[in-house]
Every structure is written in structure tokens, then in C-alpha cells.
Symmetry: C2
Subunit: 335 residues, 2 copies
């Protein structure tokens, strides 16, 4: 029960998801005394929702190592334990990202053939003039220094996810680089390109930052430093642009009148670029499904993270990654 809003957002989002997906069952992990008040007034099927009490909480500024060592009865730890024992098919948390990653990695372990889990996130892109789509970009911050082999593993995992969840037949996989020529980029990027060109993946080569939002690829691979900066500068630009637009539309009585007439247009624009519409980052490469929600996600947005977790559990993403990676490991091992 983490995040900026705790049960006041998580519980209504859970009830909402239960109502929408009749086959879904949920376990709320946290302080029972704090959770019950949010449930008492609600009507829901008690056979599909239960509380698992946890006496501690990982705070937003706890260090990952402290959370891992000292908070063995935190809601985060208990929730991940439930995934490990198989009682839960997936874990969703809006809490401390570093702690969630450390605990998930410690308890669930990485899949065979995967050195490091990656954080992946759906990003809105323009498919053409009339259509919006989304792509999966990874890693977004779990790994700051990556070698080619790591980028290669990210690519395999991202391709599995895009195929299974976004229903793309042969996802177009690209490496993020600073130019499309083969000689450009870091050694890691060049090495990953080499490895990817030897696989059956639909590897389409390098893309540049400008291409990310043009819908040229379904999976964009980069190291966690680059991915984190790219994602966050994108958010920053969108925020600056929308705040500037708001300012221009409220500058005078005349512009306010036009803004009034344009309400449906402006609302559609805001909805399209609302970060909450794209909530739910996956920790990919673990023996289990772990989804991180934005800490400040409102209810409709936290629900998106629950749905992402449900879909990934249904499609058994960890197992799909395991078998896909195994294939490449076998191919590379000389007989």
C-alpha cells in the first residue's frame, strides 16, 4: 500500500478492476486497520478480494538495502513473497522503485540467461496522421552501465512482451543510437547490433531520438541511463508545452472565450498526453510479474497498472521469456 496516496487510491482502483474483470482475484497487502475503512462501505464479491496483513511499510526515502534487510514484514516484501510462493500471479506497487527492484530481485531471482532485470514502459507514439500507437522502451533506469550482451537481453525480453501484450506478430526491435549509420554509437550499442543481427528477431537497426515517437519501432532498446533521461525529458517537454498552451489560452478575455469553445479539443489533447493513461512499468526478466505504478497515479491510472499485471500474468510473460532466451543460449553454445 505505497505511493503518494496509499489505500485511498489503491483500494478504489482494485474494486474498479474487480468489477470490470470477472475472472480477476485480488489480494490487498498492507495494514489491515488502514485498509478496512476503505472496504467497509464498498460492495464487492468477498470471495475475490482478501486482505493480507503486513505490519511494516517501505518509505519513499528508504534505501533499497535497508528496505531489503530490515523490513521483512513490509507490504512490499509480503506482496512479492506471495508471488514467489505462487499464491499471487503478479505484484503491483506504487512504492519506492529502488526498494521494489531490490526486493523483487532478491526474492524472485532473475530468469536463467538474464543477467539483469530491466524496467520497461509503454510509450505513446504516432503511427500515422490519424492513428496513435504505443511502443515498449527499455531499460528505463534499472541499469546505468550496460554492455552489448545486456542490451541484447533487453531486446529479447521487450520483443516477447510486445508480441504477447500488444499483440504484434513480429515486433520491430530497434536500438536507440545517435545516428543511423553503422559506425555511430558506443561499443555496447555496436556489439548489441552485432548480436541482434544473428537472431530471428525482427531487428530493424538503429533509431534516433526523433524517431522514437514516430512509430518506427515497437520495441526501443537502450541502457537505463539513456532511457531514463529520454523518458523524463519527454515528460518535461510535454509538460512545458501544455503549460504554455494553457497560458496562451488564458491570456485575455478573448483567448479565454476561444478556450471555452475549444474545450472538447483541449480535453482530447490533454487526455492523449496524460501520463496517467500510460501507467504501469514492468520489471522484466524476473521469475514473476512485478509492475510498478507511478507514485502519484490517480485511481484510473493505478487501475491501468493492475490491468497490465493481469495481462502479463495471463500470458505468462516470465515463462515466455525463459523459453525465448533459452533458444538463443542454446544457439550460441558450441555443440
Amino acid at each position: 500500500m505505497g505511493g503518494d496516496f496509499g489505500p485511498s487510491v489503491v483500494v478504489p482502483a482494485a474494486l474498479d478492476a474487480l468489477a470490470q474483470y470477472p475472472h480477476l482475484n485480488l489480494i490487498l497487502v498492507g495494514d489491515e486497520q488502514k485498509l478496512l475503512p476503505f472496504l467497509s462501505a464498498a460492495s464487492y464479491d468477498e470471495s475475490r478480494l482478501r486482505i493480507q496483513h503486513a505490519s511494516e511499510q517501505v518509505l519513499m526515502d528508504d534505501s533499497p538495502s535497508l528496505a531489503l534487510r530490515n523490513k521483512k514484514d513490509s507490504s512490499m516484501r509480503v506482496a512479492i513473497n506471495l508471488v514467489q510462493t505462487g499464491e499471487a500471479a503478479a505484484c503491483v506497487s506504487a512504492g519506492n522503485t529502488g526498494a521494489l527492484m531490490a526486493i523483487a530481485r532478491f526474492v524472485l531471482k532473475t530468469l536463467p540467461g538474464i543477467d539483469r532485470p530491466a524496467i520497461v514502459y509503454p510509450i505513446p507514439v504516432r503511427v500515422d496522421q490519424a492513428e496513435m500507437g504505443r511502443l515498449r522502451m527499455l531499460d528505463l533506469g534499472a541499469n546505468v552501465d550496460c554492455q552489448g550482451e545486456h542490451l541484447f537481453q533487453f531486446a529479447v525480453m521487450g520483443s516477447v512482451l510486445a508480441a504477447a501484450i500488444d499483440n504484434i506478430d513480429r515486433p520491430r526491435v530497434a536500438l536507440l543510437n545517435i545516428g543511423s549509420e553503422e559506425i555511430k554509437g558506443t561499443e555496447a550499442v555496436k556489439q548489441a547490433a552485432q548480436l541482434l543481427s544473428q537472431t530471428d528477431l525482427n531487428y530493424i537497426g538503429f533509431v534516433e531520438g526523433t524517431d522514437v515517437y514516430q512509430g518506427k519501432a515497437d520495441v526501443v532498446v537502450c541502457d537505463g541511463f539513456v532511457g531514463n533521461v529520454a523518458l523524463k525529458t519527454s515528460e518535461g517537454v510535454a509538460k512545458m508545452l501544455t503549460s504554455y498552451i494553457r497560458r496562451e489560452f488564458t491570456r485575455s478575455l478573448y483567448t479565454k472565450f476561444i478556450a471555452f469553445l475549444a474545450i472538447p479539443i483541449l480535453r482530447s489533447i490533454r487526455k492523449r498526453f496524460d501520463p496517467g493513461e500510460y501507467n504501469g512499468a514492468t520489471f522484466l526478466g524476473l521469475n514473476g510479474v512485478v509492475i510498478k505504478s507511478h507514485g502519484n497515479a490517480p485511481q484510473h491510472s493505478f487501475k491501468k497498472a493492475i490491468i497490465e499485471a493481469m495481462l502479463e500474468a495471463e500470458k505468462n510473460i516470465p515463462e515466455k521469456i525463459r523459453s525465448e532466451v533459452e533458444q538463443y543460449l542454446v544457439k550460441r553454445t558450441p555443440v
Copy 2:
């Protein structure tokens, strides 16, 4: 005379700049036969504009090493030679970036104490609700693998530039990172932070991608891979957003009517985020002023690059960097 449009954009931009700045003198470097037609009909002060003939041209897809070795009479090479001999105070080119950097580095050399030149660019940022400002971000693509010492040098150079050109008393210098805590980031970033905290620079610590456009810093430092991706994804987001806005405003007769009423607002938004308004990337750290214009810059935008070059030459940026860097080199050398 490079870029996508050649003399048809460069010559009118040059004449425009001459008319606006009475103390400016310009040399047009390129094929005389191609340049003359653009001048014949124009009226200008012949004592302030002359043509320097060059028989060759670096093409957009020439490799930097080929351009450097084989095209000794290219307009690019001749223009940079003019800076080296002191006949010109600065060089502006819209041509092949890699070739321009290779030639500039070979002919002009880097300043003492600077290992690698960096590419720096003014970026629009939001200062507060009512004000827009700009910051200098570097490196934007010249150096893909940087150590802490390189980032440190970029910070010193960026600070000099922001102080002199943007008239900022003590520019706030920040390192781009994936979190504001001290433990985050690559070794290079941590090492640069260590070096910067020992200087008199106004070093304010780490900023994240989201902070870049919030006006929290005047100079943002990163390696060329990260900077290039950040800049280009920003362009991509802005492009996607503005194209989506255009689409929403042209969806129906009603929205088109509102768009008509909103023309002054939409025009102001477009002008603010027109990349052409921020043209002119500086190659910083060389023994001379070299400015790279966008290849597809239109006339008003190429003129901005000329003005940037003029200002940097007037303020003698290379000399200012030399003396600033010298100070730190002396301090670090044990007596």
C-alpha cells in the same frame, strides 16, 4: 555553402544580418559562380561582404575522414582556414556535422586543458508561468563515451558561454542524472560531481530529465550520447504533440472554425516551439568560433546562427575558456 538549401538560404540570411548589424563583415565561402547570381540583384555595402572562392564541397554523406583528407579546397575547409589565419573571427556552416567537427578540430586544435570539443545548443525552458528562458546543454553528440574529467571540462566551458552570451552572472551548472541522490548515476557522473564541487563554479548538483525544461539550471552537462538522445527525443515529442494538436483542430468544420478564431494563439505557440528559433550549435573548446546551423534551417533561422557566431566572436569565447580552464589546471597541479 552547405546545408539542404545552400546559397538560396545562406546568401539572403547573410544580407539580412549585414543590414541589421552595421559593424558586421561577412565572407561568403563557396563556388563563386553559384554565389554571384544571388548577389547580383541585391543591394549591399560591398566593403562589408566578399566572396572567397572554394572549388569543392563536402557532401552530407561524406565521411569525416574523407572530407578531411581529400577535400582541401572545400568551402568548409577554406572557411575554417580563414578562422585559423585570423582573417575571419568565426565560421558558420549548415553542412555535414561530423566533417565540420573533424576539420575544425584538425585545423584549429582544441584549447589547452580541453581534451575534446563539445557541441552545445541553446534550449528553450520555462522560467516560471509567465517567462520563457533558455539554457545551454552539452555535449549533444560529439563524444559518446565520456569520463568525469570530460564532463567537468564541458561544465567549465558551458558556464563561460552562458555567462558571456546569455549575460548570466553566475550560471547555475547542473549534471544530468537519473536521480538527485548522490548515489545515483554512472561513475563518470559521480566523478564529475566530485570535481565540480571543488571549484568556484555555481554548481547546483544533479538534475533529472524532467527538470531540464523547468529552468532549474542555466547549463546542463551530460555525455554526447545522452545529450543527443535527450535533444532528439524532445524534438520528437514536440513534433508529435504539435501534429496531434493540428489534427484535433482540423477534425471537423466546428474545430476548423475554432482554429480560425484561435489563429493568433496557435501562431504564438508554433513560434515559441519552432526549432528554427533556437538555431546555432556551438563547437566549444576549439581555438576559434565554429557554429553549426541546422541543415534544413530557413533564412531567419540561419541568420540566428550568424548572430550567435558574431556574439561569440565579440565576446572572445575561446580566450575566456582558455583563461578559465587555466585557473583550474593551476589549482589542481601540486606546487
